[in-house]
Every structure is written in structure tokens, then in C-alpha cells.
Amino acid sequence: MNSKESFEAEALPHLDAVYRFALRLGGSEADAEDLVQETFLRAYRAWHQYTPGTRAKSWLFTICRNVFLRQRQRDDRRTEVVQQAAVAANAGGASHDADGFLFAHASAVDPEGEFFRGIIDDSIMDAIDRLPTEFRDAVVLSDLEGLSYAEAARVLDVPVGTVKSRLYRGRRLLQQALYEYAAEQGYIRTR
């Protein structure tokens, strides 16, 4: 198998996953498509650097995220300051015990989290998209794309412990947002 064939066999099957990841990084569908195209072009040119037998999916995610970050540096339309403010606000408010505020509330009305089953997928994706970037990326890679903590750490270029804590905080924020959404929609009664 030559390198073009091996690229087609190992990298191209992840086109859907890279597209989904690109969508979650932000921007329009057209932006995501451009990002995917650039990712595969760079991956193709750098295919000799890929180590066969490692997971091509997380390697492609790494390239995709790097391309995205470089583009964003060039064209900084994003309101990072606002996001950092949101992170700071959450850092002060969220509880640090294992289940915290949300579970204490939810357990009184819905101890098994039944409300999670009633929430439609679009609302969940909206809530994920609204998470602060660093938490959202961890949730997307781990929960939506099934990467291990170690694989997500490589994509995000952070230690495994950082992935764990971001995932923890991201999930807490997501649960809180969905709980509030479910209460608003009447899926659960909050007394």
C-alpha cells in the first residue's frame, strides 16, 4: 500500500468526525467545511509524520484544532474576553464536592436524572456550544467523539489531569444548563 492509499484507508474514514469537531469549534457550516478541507490537505502533506497504528482520528483532531487556532489568531473576531469572564464567574460559583449544588437540587425532584432523557438533541448541542471553549473542547472530544483522556490531552496539548478537570467542570456546567432548560420547559418540576 503506498502512502496515498494508506491515507485514504486510515485518514479519510474520519472525515465525518473531523467535520463534527470542526462544527463544534465554532463558526458556520461553510467555515467548518473550509476547516475540514484545510485539515485534510495539511494531514495529507504531513502523512509521513503520522505513526502507523496510533489513532488517526486524534491526530486529525490535533491538526484541525491547530489550523483553527491559527486562523483565529489571524482573524480574531471572537470575544475571548467574554468567555474568560464566564469561566471566572463559574469558577466562583460552582461547587467543588462530587455532586454539588445541582445534584442536591435535582435529587429532590428527579434523583435518577430522568429529565436527561427528555431533552432533544438540538438543545443539548446548543448547551454544549455555549460552554466556555476549554470545557467545551474537553466535552466534545471525550463525550461526543469517544477519545480517551490521554488522546484528548494530546489534541488539546495539555496534561491528562487538566483534561480530567476540564471535563469535570464542563460536565457540571452542562448538567446545570440542561437542568435549567428542563425546568423551563416543564420536563421537571422544581417545586
Binding site: E33, V36, Q37, P111, E112, G113, E114, R117, I119, L167
Partner: protein, 84 residues
């Protein structure tokens, strides 16, 4: 085998659900959760959340056909073989 405390079980709930624990540790956590009245509700809650995300993950969109064609065309016209 070391004793599993509620504190440890709750702290490792998501690592357990994510399949990130060694087999032995996962088994210890599983045994504790099954018999502990305090931890079981937290586990069920976390499990419902986990299942919800798995459901969403399975229903995510595929890349549109025109993008698939664009990428295929790109690789074809790129012409170069990746460096050996």
C-alpha cells in the same frame, strides 16, 4: 483488596463510566456503587447524563456529500505523493 470509600467512589464515578480505570479499580468501584445507598443515586444520575451524551453522539451529522467530493478532489489535484 483495599476498602472503597464513598468519597473515592464518587470522585471516580466519571472515570468509571468513561472506562478510564484499571479493571481491578473499576471492579471495586462497581461493587461499592451496587451496595451503597448513598452512592447509588449519584451513580444513576451520572449514568443518565452519560447515556444522554452517547445518544447525542450517535445522532450527530455526517459530512455533507459536497464536502466529501471537495476533499477527494483536493487530494487528487494536490498531485503530490505525501513525502515518503
Amino acid at each position: 483488596m483495599s476498602q472503597t470509600t464513598c468519597r473515592e467512589a464518587l470522585a471516580r464515578l466519571y472515570e468509571y463510566l468513561d472506562g478510564e480505570l484499571t479493571r481491578e479499580t473499576a471492579e471495586r468501584i462497581r461493587e461499592h456503587i451496587q451496595i451503597c445507598e448513598c452512592c447509588f443515586p449519584s451513580f444513576r444520575f451520572a449514568q443518565s447524563f452519560h447515556e444522554m451524551l452517547r445518544r447525542v453522539s450517535n445522532g450527530q451529522p455526517a459530512a455533507p456529500d459536497h464536502l466529501r467530493r471537495r476533499v477527494a478532489e483536493l487530494l487528487r489535484t494536490e498531485g503530490l505523493e505525501p513525502e515518503a
